[in-house]
């Protein structure tokens, strides 16, 4: 029987991310600290004003689902990667876990991830459920 091992939900304000989108003129050290190179390229190509916020919200939701934070575990922001398939529908995406997030996923004996996202003109929401 499948069991819920963890659940995380996060909400972010879009306007807090507007200044954090890297431009061609200047690299954003925030983006370099938090997102993988693949994510930065992907988010820049797909509705950047929404995708960077969703990427961050996804990472926060995973931290909560795992019951850890980046300051009390070995998990890193870049261990959780959100990549969108196309800009026509942000609900088409994939999540990759690496590093300590992957180790934790295996340690908890997770076998599946259910996730969903929502956004409007002001907020983004990301929800993660870890299943055994």
């Amino acid at each position: 029987m499948k069991k819920v091992l963890g659940c995380g939900i996060d909400i972010e304000e879009l306007n807090r991310f507007l200044s954090k989108i890297p431009s061609g003129k200047e690299n954003s050290s925030f983006a370099e600290m938090v997102y993988t190179t693949a994510e930065i390229q992907n988010h820049l190509s797909i509705l950047p004003h929404v995708s960077f916020a969703l990427g961050f919200s996804c990472k926060e939701a995973f931290f909560k689902a795992f019951g850890v934070s980046w300051t009390n575990s070995e998990i890193s922001w870049k261990d959780i990667e959100l990549l969108f398939d196309n800009q026509n529908n942000l609900n088409n995406y994939s999540i990759r876990l690496g590093g300590y997030a992957k180790k934790l996923y295996r340690k908890l004996k997770c076998s599946d991830i259910r996730s969903s996202l929502y956004y409007n003109n002001e907020y983004v929401v990301f929800k993660v459920i870890l299943i055994s």
Binding site: S29, F30, V34, E60
Partner: protein
Amino acid sequence: MSKITANIKEEVRNIVYQFFAEECDADISEIKDSTNIISDLEGDSLMFLELIEIFKKKYNLNIELKTIAKYIVKHPVETIGQLIDTQILMIEHENNIVNL
């Protein structure tokens, strides 16, 4: 790595106080070193990352988030005063902060 002077300490303190006053819409006179960042100011991880970005840029710091996280696991940051002390150590030791 920088030698920490009284001026740098004062500058860090002013930046941190000003940052939280603006971000949390708080009166700067009500923020103290003992103010709890989460329960008193409703601060969040995004604010903490923003502050790290500010100091990385201002002092051209070579420090990784993972290093900061490892330090904070051993030395939790809950108050404004603890955050100021951590930022000063980041400026002073950069990636070597993990060895403290």
